[in-house]
C-alpha cells in the first residue's frame, strides 16, 4: 500500500471474541468513509498486513488505532506496546480493552486452576496431565507458543491509553458517531476530547435511556430472571426484584437489554469518574433493601447468588481488588 498522504488507521484484536470487529463491520456504508479518509495500514480482519511492516513504521506514524481485546498473554502485550509506540491516538476499543469484559472474570482464578479446568475436563483424555509448554521439543525441533499470563489486564494497565470506547461490543451507532467526530476533527470542524475521556457513550447511566417506569425503590426480595413468571414489560426490572446493572452502567447503548426484558449486565462499564464499578452497584442495591435487621438483610441477599460475579461481570480487571493495582504501580504515585 503506497502512502497516499491520508492519515493512517489501524485496528487490532488481542484477547477478544471478534465481536468488536463485527460491530465495526455492522456500520455498513460508514465503513466506506473510513476507507475514503484513512489509509488502513493494519486491520487483520479486513485486510492483510505484516507485523514486520508495522514494526518498520516510524513511531507515531499511525494517527488512530482502535485496540480491542484484553491482555491475556505475551503476544497481546507485545502488540499493545508496539501499537502504542506507532500510534498518535490509541483507543481502548470495547469492553475487553477498556475494563476486561467477561474474559476478565478469569482474574477470580489463577493459571493452575484454569489449566486444571481446561485440561482435566470430563471429556478430556489426559492421563499424563499434560499442560501447554511455551517451548516444547518435538523430534523435528522446538515449538513455541506465547506465555499465558497469570491474569487478564486491560490495555491501560499495560500501556498509556488516550481514549476509551466501552461496550460489548460498542453499539454500531456509537461507532459511527465516533468516526464522524474523528472526521470532523480532521477537517478542523471539531476539537478532540480531553485525553483519557470516554468516547462513544453517554454521560449518565442506562436508566437514563431505559423506557421502563421507575419509582422510589424498596427491595424486599431479589428474584432471578428465570424465576419470574411474567416480567412486567413496563416496570423497572430492579423494582421487580431482578438485579439489573442499569443504574450503575454508563449510558450509550440505548438500554437494549432492558428493552427486551433482559436485565442490563453492565457491558458499558462504570459512569464518569467512578473508581470501582462493582462498589457502585453494590452500594446502590444494598441501600434500598427494605430491612434493618442483619439476618433479614442476609436472607434478602440470598437472592443474589453471585455478588462479585454480578457486580464485576465486565470490570474485574479494573476493580480495586482483582488487578487494578498493577496499573497503578506503573506511575500511580
Amino acid at each position: 500500500m503506497s502512502d497516499n498522504g491520508k492519515p493512517k488507521f489501524a485496528m487490532y484484536w488481542a484477547a477478544s471474541c471478534g465481536g468488536c470487529e463485527i460491530a465495526v463491520l455492522n456500520i455498513n456504508e460508514k465503513i466506506l468513509d473510513v476507507d475514503a479518509n484513512f489509509e488502513v495500514v493494519f486491520w487483520p480482519v479486513a485486510m492483510d498486513a505484516k507485523y514486520k511492516d508495522v514494526e518498520a513504521m516510524p513511531d507515531k506514524s499511525i494517527l488512530l488505532t482502535l485496540f480491542n481485546g484484553g491482555i491475556r498473554n505475551e503476544e497481546n502485550e507485545h502488540l499493545a506496546i508496539l501499537l502504542r509506540q506507532k500510534s498518535q491516538i490509541l483507543v481502548a476499543f470495547g469492553s475487553c480493552a477498556t475494563e476486561g469484559c467477561i474474559p476478565g472474570l478469569a482474574n477470580f482464578s489463577n493459571t493452575d486452576q484454569i489449566y486444571e479446568a481446561v485440561y482435566e475436563g470430563v471429556s478430556t483424555d489426559n492421563p499424563n496431565h499434560i499442560r501447554p509448554q511455551y517451548n516444547y521439543e518435538v523430534p523435528e525441533g522446538t515449538l513455541h507458543i506465547p506465555a499465558f499470563y497469570p491474569a487478564l489486564r486491560t490495555l491501560d494497565q499495560v500501556v498509556d491509553v488516550d481514549y476509551y470506547m466501552p461496550g460489548c461490543p460498542p453499539e454500531s451507532h456509537q461507532i459511527a458517531a465516533v468516526i464522524d467526530l474523528v472526521l470532523k476533527v480532521l477537517n478542523g470542524e471539531a476539537e478532540l476530547p480531553p485525553k483519557g475521556a470516554v468516547i462513544g457513550a453517554g454521560n449518565s447511566t442506562v436508566c437514563d435511556e431505559c423506557g421502563r417506569k421507575r419509582h422510589v425503590k424498596s427491595i424486599t426480595k431479589f428474584v432471578r430472571i428465570h424465576e419470574v413468571d411474567e416480567i412486567d414489560p413496563e416496570l423497572c426490572l430492579l423494582e421487580q426484584g431482578i438485579l439489573c446493572n442499569g443504574p450503575a452502567t454508563r449510558s450509550g447503548c440505548g438500554a437494549r437489554c432492558p428493552g427486551v426484558g433482559a436485565a442490563c449486565i453492565g457491558c458499558y462499564g462504570p459512569a464518569e469518574g467512578v473508581i470501582d464499578y462493582g462498589a457502585r452497584l453494590m452500594t446502590a442495591v444494598a441501600s434500598v433493601i427494605d430491612s434493618n435487621d442483619p439476618d433479614e438483610i442476609d436472607a434478602i441477599l440470598e437472592g443474589i447468588p453471585d455478588p462479585a460475579g454480578s457486580f464485576y461481570r465486565f470490570s474485574m480487571p479494573h476493580s480495586l481488588l482483582r488487578m487494578a493495582k498493577p496499573a497503578w504501580s506503573n506511575g500511580n504515585r
Partner: protein
C-alpha cells in the same frame, strides 16, 4: 532439516500457526498447526448463576455468539429439567436461522468463495470479495450486504442486539414477537429464500460448469477419509437447533446417534503440549494420531459432515440441492474437503426455507414464551450445530443453580485434527523433493483449511478464513533462503 514456518500475518498474533518440517530429502517430515490462545471460560464460568451462561458464553466468540447463546440456553433448560413452551423454542430457532443465513453468506462470498469464483491460481490481489464483485457484478455486492443485514435484523429483533443476543433464559425467552415484527421478518425471509437459490445457481454456473474446479474438488489433495458427525432431527434430517448427534464412519455407515447427555460416551479430547487447543475424537474408535480411516477416531464437523451424517434436508428446495450434491460428487459420504463450500450453500438455502416455515407458524407470535423452572437444578448438556461444527455445553450446578463445573466442546475445535491433517496432506503432496514453494502452492495449502471456515474466535479468534500466510524457508542452518507471503 529445513523448517518452514507459516504464520498468519505474524508469529505474534495468536491466530494459529503452521510449522512444516522438511527432511533432508526435502520431503515433508511433519507439520504442526498450533493454536496459541486460551481464555479459560471453563474455569471462570464456575461460580456464576446458570441463567447468565447464554450471556457469558456469548463472549467466547463474537462471530458465532448466537451458537453459544443457544447451546447455553439449552444446557440451562436441561440443568433445570424444564421444557420451554414450543413458541419459545421456535423463537430461538428463528433467531438462529437469521444468524446461520448471515454467517454462511459472509463466508461464501467474502472468505471462502473467492478461491472458487476467482480460481485458485488467480492473482492474489483479485482473490477477495472485490474480485468476486468484479467478476460477478456490482449488484451482487449489494445483495450480499443485504443478506448480512437481513440476518442481523432478525437476530436483533429477537435477541435484542446485533451482536451478543440476550433474550434466552432457562425455560424460554424474555421477548415475544409482535405481528408487526413478524410481517417484517416474513418479508425478509421471502427475499432470503430467493438469495439462497441464487447463490446455489451462482455456484453451479461458476464452479460446477468449470471442469477444472470439479477436478480440483475431487482431487486427492483435499481428501481425508474421516468420520463425520452432525445434529439430525427424528427423521434424520439436518437440524441446527435441536435433535440427536448422528455419527457416521468413513464408509457412510451410521455408528449411532447420541442425545446431548450421552456425548461423553462418544466424544473425548486429546491433549498435546505444543498447543492450547484440544483435539476431539470419537471415544469408541479411539485416538490413533493425525491419521484418517475407519480405525482413527478423528472426525469432522462441518456443513459437509452434517450432510454426510444425515439422510437429507428437512426443506424441499434444500433437499433437492442435497440430492444433486451427492449425484454430482458420486454418492455418500463425500470426503473432499472443498465440497464443504457447496454443502454450506445448501445449508444457506435450508436456513432461509426454515426461516420462512417458522415465521409463518401461527404459534410464533404466542405470548406464552416462558415456563418457570420448578425442579432443583443439577446437571445438563446443550447441543446445537454452530456453522463450523457441533457445539456442546455441559454444566453442573449446586441446588441454587450456581455452576460448579463447566465443560465445552466448541465448533471449530471439532475440526482441529482434520484441519491439521488436511494441511499436512496438502503440504506433503505439494512440497516434495525441494519443490520451490510458490504463492499458488501456498494458496493450495491455505485452501485446505480455509474450506473448514475455521472460526478461531472460539479457540484463537481470527475471523472465518482470515488466515493469510507467511512462509519462511530456512536451510539446515536456519539461514533464511526465501520469504514468500500469501495475502488474501
Amino acid at each position: 532439516m529445513t523448517r518452514i514456518t507459516i504464520d498468519p500475518i505474524t508469529r505474534l498474533e495468536g491466530h494459529g500457526k503452521i510449522e512444516i518440517f522438511l527432511n533432508e530429502e526435502g520431503d515433508v517430515e511433519n507439520t504442526y498447526f498450533q493454536i496459541p490462545e486460551l481464555r479459560g471460560f471453563e474455569r471462570f464460568c464456575v461460580g456464576r448463576p446458570v441463567e447468565e451462561m447464554p450471556l457469558l458464553t456469548n463472549r467466547i466468540c463474537g462471530v458465532c455468539p448466537e451458537a453459544h447463546h443457544m447451546a447455553a440456553a439449552k444446557a440451562g433448560d436441561a440443568v433445570y429439567g424444564v421444557d420451554p413452551p414450543s413458541a419459545a423454542k421456535k423463537l430461538r430457532e428463528l433467531l438462529y436461522m437469521g444468524f446461520f443465513f448471515t454467517d454462511h453468506t459472509t463466508h461464501f462470498y467474502a472468505l471462502g468463495g473467492p478461491d472458487f469464483v476467482m480460481g485458485p491460481d488467480a492473482p492474489v490481489a483479485e482473490r477477495n470479495i472485490l474480485g468476486v464483485i468484479h467478476k460477478v457484478g456490482m449488484e451482487i455486492a449489494g445483495q450480499v450486504l443485504q443478506a448480512r443485514k437481513y440476518g442481523h435484523t432478525v437476530v436483533e429483533m429477537l435477541g435484542g442486539r446485533k451482536v451478543h443476543p440476550c433474550t434466552s433464559i432457562p425455560g424460554g425467552v424474555t421477548k415475544g414477537l409482535t405481528e408487526e415484527e413478524r410481517e417484517k421478518i416474513e418479508e425478509m425471509g421471502e427475499w432470503a429464500v430467493e438469495f439462497g437459490k441464487f447463490s446455489l445457481d451462482l455456484f453451479g454456473d461458476i464452479v460446477l460448469s468449470n471442469q477444472a474446479y470439479v477436478d480440483l474438488i475431487l482431487g486427492d489433495i483435499y481428501t481425508d477419509r474421516t468420520h463425520y458427525i452432525g445434529l439430525v432431527d427424528d427423521d434424520n434430517k439436518v437440524n441446527f437447533y435441536d435433535g440427536k448427534v448422528s455419527v457416521v464412519d468413513p464408509d457412510g455407515k451410521r455408528l449411532g446417534k447420541y442425545a446431548p447427555d450421552e456425548y461423553t460416551d462418544w466424544i473425548a479430547e486429546h491433549v498435546e503440549p505444543w498447543t492450547y487447543l484440544k483435539f476431539p475424537y470419537l471415544k469408541k474408535v479411539g485416538w490413533k494420531g493425525f491419521v484418517d480411516g475407519n480405525d482413527s477416531g478423528v472426525y469432522m464437523a462441518t456443513p459437509l459432515s452434517r450432510l454426510n451424517a444425515a439422510d437429507g434436508m428437512a426443506t424441499p428446495l434444500a433437499q433437492a440441492a442435497y440430492e444433486k450434491f451427492y449425484e454430482t460428487l458420486g454418492g455418500k459420504p463425500v470426503h473432499q474437503r472443498l465440497a464443504i463450500h457447496w454443502a454450506r450453500l445448501i445449508e444457506l438455502l435450508y436456513s432461509a426455507e426454515r426461516w420462512m416455515e417458522l415465521v409463518t407458524d401461527p404459534e410464533i407470535t404466542s405470548p406464552n414464551i416462558h415456563t418457570v423452572p420448578t425442579k432443583v437444578p443439577t446437571e445438563g448438556v446443550g447441543i446445537v450445530e454452530a456453522p463450523r461444527g457441533t457445539l456442546t455445553h455441559h454444566y453442573w450446578t449446586d441446588e441454587r443453580g450456581v455452576l460448579t463445573k463447566v465443560n465445552l466442546v466448541v465448533g471449530t475445535t471439532n475440526n482441529y485434527a482434520p484441519i491439521t491433517m488436511s494441511i499436512k496432506k496438502a503440504a506433503s503432496s505439494l512440497i516434495n523433493k525441494g519443490t520451490v514453494v510458490t504463492e499458488p502452492i501456498l494458496n493450495m495449502v491455505e485452501m485446505a483449511f480455509r474450506a473448514y471456515d475455521p472460526c478461531f474466535g472460539c479457540a484463537t479468534h481470527s475471523l472465518p478464513g482470515q488466515m493469510p500466510l507467511e512462509v519462511t524457508i530456512r536451510d539446515a542452518h536456519g539461514e533464511v533462503v526465501d520469504v514468500l507471503r500469501q495475502f488474501c
